[in-house]
């Protein structure tokens, strides 16, 4: 009798759990649909605040994890927004008290869009960010590196309000492997998981090789020495990681280097509007790293 009761209770609990799951799933599908069919579902982005930003509309400051574009959900064509980009971006740049030195675009979505990523990179350059990385855990961008670089150059030429005619439009691969120096001020690189853990393992092997040859001792190794052994291509550690997609993980992105990076999540990089991007930069500007103190 007691066994039957326990069984009934277990079944009931499982049913309630499944019912809750079923309730949540349509909501999730609705929100995640833009990733799959950006064209047909783009009207979702125009929905009023409460549906898209559940539970956060009352918070005094926008929550960095959830949608940072709380206040301005306008669906705008990036090209349209950029008709007079030079003036606009200069003005916007001045309102930011703090800019990241190295910004990373971490794409967790399964099908990235080269043109959208290129637009975001160009906005970063316009905002005055010196180092930009693009990462996806499948290595799609790394394998199609040249295609991405061409898209970036094309995009930059389209949004010619940047006054980029002063700068060289050639692909410079001299000092940045799999990368591009867009102008004297900004450099772009493409990363994949091999640049993360695999690079740490390679550095460890190199050090152990030196120890085996008795050129170094094990006790010589400390955090700074090991940092020096890693390949950084001259890029500093990321200050800001813009994570696109619904996967709540950094998916193996540069584990050593992101110790102090702010990780701001955005729902999708597809058709990302300039306002949303700028809101993320504002959120970063408002952050206060205490560095343990």
């Amino acid at each position: 009798m007691a066994g039957l009761q326990a069984l009934v209770q277990r079944v009931l609990r499982a049913l309630v759990w499944r019912a809750l799951h079923a309730l949540l799933c349509p909501h999730r599908t609705l929100i995640s649909a833009p990733r799959v069919h950006p064209g047909t579902w783009s009207w979702i982005w125009r929905l009023p605040k409460p549906l898209v930003n559940r539970g956060t509309s009352r918070s005094p400051s926008p929550h960095p994890h959830l949608h940072p574009h709380l206040h301005r959900l306008q669906h705008r064509d990036p090209a349209l927004a950029a008709t007079r980009p030079g003036l606009r971006w200069r003005a916007d740049r001045q309102t930011l008290c703090k800019l990241p030195v190295h910004l990373t675009l971490l794409i967790t979505e399964l099908e990235p869009s080269f043109s959208d990523v290129a637009s975001i990179v160009v906005w970063c350059v316009a905002a005055g960010i010196s180092y930009i990385s693009v990462y996806d855990h499948q290595g799609i961008f790394k394998r199609n590196n040249s295609r991405l670089m061409e898209e970036i150059l094309k995009r930059r030429q389209e949004l010619s309000g940047l006054d980029c005619s002063r700068y060289s439009a050639e692909l410079e691969k001299s000092n940045v492997k799999d990368g591009l120096v867009l102008n004297c001020r900004s450099a772009v690189q493409v990363l994949s998981p091999v640049d993360g853990k695999a690079d740490v393992v390679r550095a460890a092997q190199d050090f152990c090789q030196l120890v085996a040859q008795q050129q170094r001792r094990a006790t010589d190794l400390n955090v700074d020495v090991f940092d020096g052994l890693l390949r950084s291509q001259g890029f500093p550690d990321p200050d800001l990681v813009l994570k696109f997609g619904s996967v709540d993980s950094t998916l193996g992105f540069l584990p050593w280097q992101i110790r102090l990076a702010e990780i701001i999540s955005l729902p999708s990089h597809l058709n990302l509007s300039y306002e949303d991007f700028f809101s993320a930069l504002c959120l970063y500007a408002a952050s206060e790293p205490r560095l343990g103190k």
């Binding site: 209770q9 277990r10 609990r13 499982a14 309630v16 759990w17 809750l20 799951h21 929550h63 960095p64 994890h65 855990h137 499948q138 290595g139 998981p193 091999v194 853990k197 695999a198 740490v200 393992v201 550095a203 460890a204 092997q205 050090f207 152990c208 090789q209 120890v211 085996a212 170094r216 001792r217 094990a218 006790t219 190794l221 400390n222 955090v223 090991f226 940092d227 994570k243 996967v247 709540d248 993980s249 950094t250 998916l251 193996g252 584990p255 050593w256 992101i258 110790r259 102090l260 990076a261 702010e262 990780i263 701001i264 999540s265 952050s287 790293p289 205490r290 560095l291 343990g292 103190k293």
Partner: protein, 410 residues
Amino acid sequence: ASQSAGAKRGPAHWGDEGGVSSRAAVTCSSSATSGVVEVGFPRRLRCRVNGETRERGSSVRSRLRATLRASWRSDSKITKVIWLVFCSGVISDIARTMSWIKEGELSLWERFCANIIKAGPVPKHIAFIMDGNRRYAKKCQVERQEGHSQGFNKLAETLRWCLNLGILEVTVYAFSIENFKRSQSEVDGLLDLARQKFSCLMEEQAVSQCRLCPSSSPIREKLKKHGVCIRVLGDLHLLPLDLQEKIAQAVQATKSYNKCFLNVCFAYTSRHEITNAVREMAWGVEQGLLEPSDVSETLLDKCLYSNHSPHPDILIRTSGEVRLSDFLLWQQKARDMYAEERKRHQLERDQVAVTEQLLQEGLQASGDAQLRRTRLHRLSAKREERVQSFLKALELKRADWLALLGTAPA
């Protein structure tokens, strides 16, 4: 599915921002064992008291309340003041002797919700960055040390929830190496509270609230009852020697328990953990236990402080910050897209090594396929053997160091 760091708001805990605290306090008599007192105390005490409303039905509590009411009715103002001071000392002492795992069953509604959650997938390992103690203390207008102490109490409650939900492994970020940059008084306060908490574990006479056992039971017995194994991860040699000894004793005392695991990261940063793992591998090479080519991602994993734990399923950071702050950077869970590629690279290197070997022996490099296969197999078997003996030696080295500390005279 894992959740992003910094997404969760919550009350203050001890950890990256916080820590542990101590206050010079009146040591009170043993009658003060429970914490809820609902009288008109100033706001700062009420803040602390509200955090302990979970304790219900204790007879000691009602006795304390009656005593306080009686004293309050006394005419003399001086008596009132003395009682206020005494009671504030009592309450702070209660807060400080709180156990590592808060006893007490969940309410009916909480049990109902917990059972529903347990019907679905439940993470096996959660990591907490307990942030915001000082901001909490500022909000409640209490001292920072009090914020840290409250943070520890909340940790105890959280551990209880995890146990109830069947989450058997919890890692907490208690004290970062970066926190040594704080003011000397704050660091001393944090380390003092750590001393107190680790000593609590070993004390036979330590008193704790336990609804299940009417008489007070030592914390050590409670840990035994729940089978909690406490591990402390970090560069412990950076801590004062007496604290190291207390930690070693606590770890030794609970190392045989295996029902659930609590990993406390103390004097820890992820970069130091990774560097230490590489240093250990270099030590292995120095001792002749390893070849440089044996170094791999799997071996590095096994040399970390957290080598006995699986990678966390969820990382929760309280207070709304969205950084990892050098916590468990290596232990991210991500589908390994490159495992096959790594195996292929390893096989290629082995092929090259076998070719060299055969050439050195004067044999045809591309000759007998059977011979090549045998040699390859022998190479990887030898490598496996080296790795296993190195890991055993490392384990022994760490255990010996802990045992030595643990048995040192206090």
